[in-house]
Assembly symmetry: C2
Homo-oligomer: 229 residues x 2
């Protein structure tokens, strides 16, 4: 990262993290030695806040407790939509049912989902992600959620706008074949898959997503980008 | 019901109830004055038990506590499938995640769902049904559940076999346009929709299910059937 920053290239961190505010997320990465600040992060919750404000929507929130501060400036009285994030232990039957009742009570239910991930890995094993609960509510109400966060096109476009660059000028580096690589490419960007984290060998035979390049780690990705300047 | 029984016609109760054993279900109906016994009831849990035994499957159960006794004779050690019912408050994040982990750990995940209902009504309001959680697990594991219970063809075929009649000789009476009427018709039976319970006026414009007749209540359905004998 320091080499990228030293080269004068613009940099933006695009995360689907919805279990914590950007502040917490950044502190964690700083603790791991990364040079990163909150205003360099594009994340689903602030993207959702922009959508809510633009459309005059007041959300019923089904999110992780630690994410709630991101919605501090949003009016949540008398809700006319539901925002769902990776609520983890907050996905009790009572809470999911409450979100369902808010939706089914609307003439035209609006469900905004902070990502569509199936599951993720934690130290104690795999955990169901927001996408599974999004699907449950979609089916129960016979609706389609609007996804903010990767791989939504709008999410990548926000990140590009924040940097002031065109898709053709940008490269996405990520470990997730669909959410990172596929999403960025659909937006007109090039995308490099890193063979770490979520990467699995079978990704290289993915039926419809083909990265522009593979690298074994982040340092290799930086080499590749700096070489091609 | 007494008029049907007096006429010599065979009768079978087909329920998607998965929050209680047939014993409890029957006691409730007996309490309401119905002449009904356990061996007249076709329900998803015993149908699932037959499937489990036939295929040597040992289920991880994600069901309502009150339904567990229906699986008393089933081996649940070292599970090689998941059975999901309307678990209601048992649909905690931890429990749904545990079912997910069992499935994702299998080479070819087998998910058996005791119905595919979206929601139902209780005195305190609408409640999410098993179908929503089935969809969550289907999405997370990228699989298709096998549904036992209405509207599955196999379920109606079991009921017919238990009575020893052909589909052409049978009439389904129900309030649910898709699960009762649609399911029975797909099996070759005729079906009458009762304008009570789950019935909604918009059912009469359903895009693909058209009952053979409508009646305003159960007594009218009995009139209709006895008239046409």
């Amino acid at each position: 990262l320091n080499r990228i920053k030293a080269s004068g290239l613009k940099l933006r961190f695009c995360t689907n993290e919805t279990q914590a505010t950007r502040e917490k997320f950044v502190k964690k990465l700083q603790g791991l030695g990364f040079d990163i600040s909150v205003d360099e992060v594009t994340a689903p919750a602030p993207a959702a806040c922009r959508v809510l404000k633009e459309r005059g929507l007041r959300p019923h929130l089904l999110v992780h407790d630690d994410l709630v501060p991101e919605f501090a400036e949003i009016d949540t009285a008398n809700p006319n939509c539901v925002v769902i994030g990776d609520a983890a232990e907050n996905f009790t039957y009572a809470n999911v049912n409450e979100a369902f009742r808010v939706l089914i009570g609307m003439e035209k239910p609006v469900l905004i989902s902070l990502g569509r991930g199936r599951y993720y890995k934690e130290t104690d094993g795999l955990k169901l992600d927001v996408g599974a609960y999004m699907k449950a509510l979609e089916y129960a109400c016979d609706i389609q959620a609007e996804v903010v966060g990767k791989p939504a096109k709008m999410f990548f476009e926000s990140a590009l706008a924040e940097m002031g660059v065109t898709p053709q000028e940008a490269v996405m580096i990520g470990d997730d074949i669909v959410n990172d690589v596929g999403g960025a490419q659909q937006c007109g960007m090039r995308a490099v898959q890193v063979r770490t984290g979520k990467y699995r060998p079978c990704d290289e035979n993915h039926p419809y997503v083909k990265p522009d390049a593979y690298v074994n780690n982040l340092a290799e990705a930086v080499d590749l980008i700096l070489q091609q300047l």
